[in-house]
Symmetry: C2
Subunit: 230 residues, 2 copies
């Protein structure tokens, strides 16, 4: 079992990264690998999420439905991120949906909670991670509150490249966007049309190059950063 973890592709980034071999073994025995196809939901808002997981590959979205009925995306999950709400009962507030095909390393919630109780170090790590996520969400809140449409889109693209690209946001980096224009709009609090216009504007400025809607290349990182307002 343990060697399964050692070959894990998010071995260095995930919650389990800092665990001692013994702790890793304890987790490993209750882990199940699982694949979710693009577009499929892992949880739905209103369900009680009965498992916890680490995202191993792919990208997921956290999406809620507004009073008006449109989708709003309140967060994205990348490889290494933790999914689930230990010690929290009741219905989830958002859907957790795969944007690409994803692979998960999942644990029954009750057993994961028991493991947390038994390994305070694991719990401390998860707490630290959750606090970091809270900070990131608040930073996002900052951007959503005040930034212009152009800054939102540019900032989103920067984030995306930083998290998906191997080298970070440098000239020449190319990534495949895991979100449609509609999903970008739902994430950024804009309309599809505005997102599209801003993308073509950034392309016109020479900051990015697009091929076929989802293939994105960064041509001028500094320009993109300036557009993002930083």
């Amino acid at each position: 079992m343990s060697n399964r973890c050692e070959s894990c592709m998010v071995r260095d980034r995930a919650l389990c990264a800092a665990l001692a071999p013994a702790e890793l073994a304890a987790l490993s025995v209750m882990a199940t690998r699982r694949t979710v196809a693009a577009g499929e939901a892992l949880f739905r808002a209103g369900d009680e999420p009965l498992l916890c997981a680490t995202l191993q590959s792919g990208v997921m979205k956290l999406s809620a439905t507004t009073a008006g009925g449109e989708e709003a995306i309140v967060g994205l999950l990348f490889p290494g991120d933790f999914i689930g709400r230990p010690f929290t009962t009741g219905a989830a507030g958002q859907d957790v949906v795969a944007l690409t095909e994803v692979q998960l390393c999942s644990f029954p919630r009750a057993r994961f909670e028991a493991a947390l109780a038994e390994h305070p170090r694991l719990e401390a790590l998860l707490l630290g991670r959750t606090l970091a996520e809270l900070d990131r969400t608040r930073e996002w809140l900052l951007r959503m509150g005040r930034a212009s449409a152009g800054a939102r889109v540019a900032g989103f693209l920067e984030d995306m490249v930083r998290r998906l690209g191997v080298l970070g946001c440098t000239a020449g980096t190319t990534v495949e966007l895991p979100l449609s224009r509609g999903e970008m709009a739902a994430l950024l609090g804009l309309t599809i049309e505005t997102v599209s216009r801003q993308m073509t504007r950034l392309q016109g400025l020479g900051a990015i190059a697009l091929r076929g809607g989802r293939q994105l290349m960064i041509t001028a990182p500094a320009l993109l950063a300036a557009e993002a307002g930083r």
Copy 2:
């Protein structure tokens, strides 16, 4: 020491609410009561916060400074809320500032971390609380992304009355707003002028009554809820 906790005004709401007497005693010995005057900061962005605390009375804000130089408020803290970032080193991203005079029950961070390690139950409670806070922040993100100025202001007033008023948001409830118009604007991602206009509009509709800028009375909760878009 223990009896000091038992007379605590947030005994039923704070993190320590669910602790056993022994655990409570362990925390109690390292606790310091502290008062912060309105307008004073507990932490500043860039400092490393070296203490953890429970807010006992008053209201605080979490505020960051945008690239443009204006203040942006990313969260509010009410009695019973936890302050601090155990297991997270490095500079804080936001200022933590008292809006009213506040009373805190504070712990040196290192000792609080030790207590968490020793009492997994306490740690589990804090984790649950942090996850809940994350959910609340995401909900706020939802509102900030899409809602109109009127809906933001109405929703804010509802939240405020619900958390400050004794009975929740019912007709006749009166509260003193702990934020200036400028702070409301910084929280809601609007300008002072727009906040002011929306307040007078809500008053014109008969949803609220204002006296002297900060005294707020709810006259029609249902109308206010409708304006908030829910």
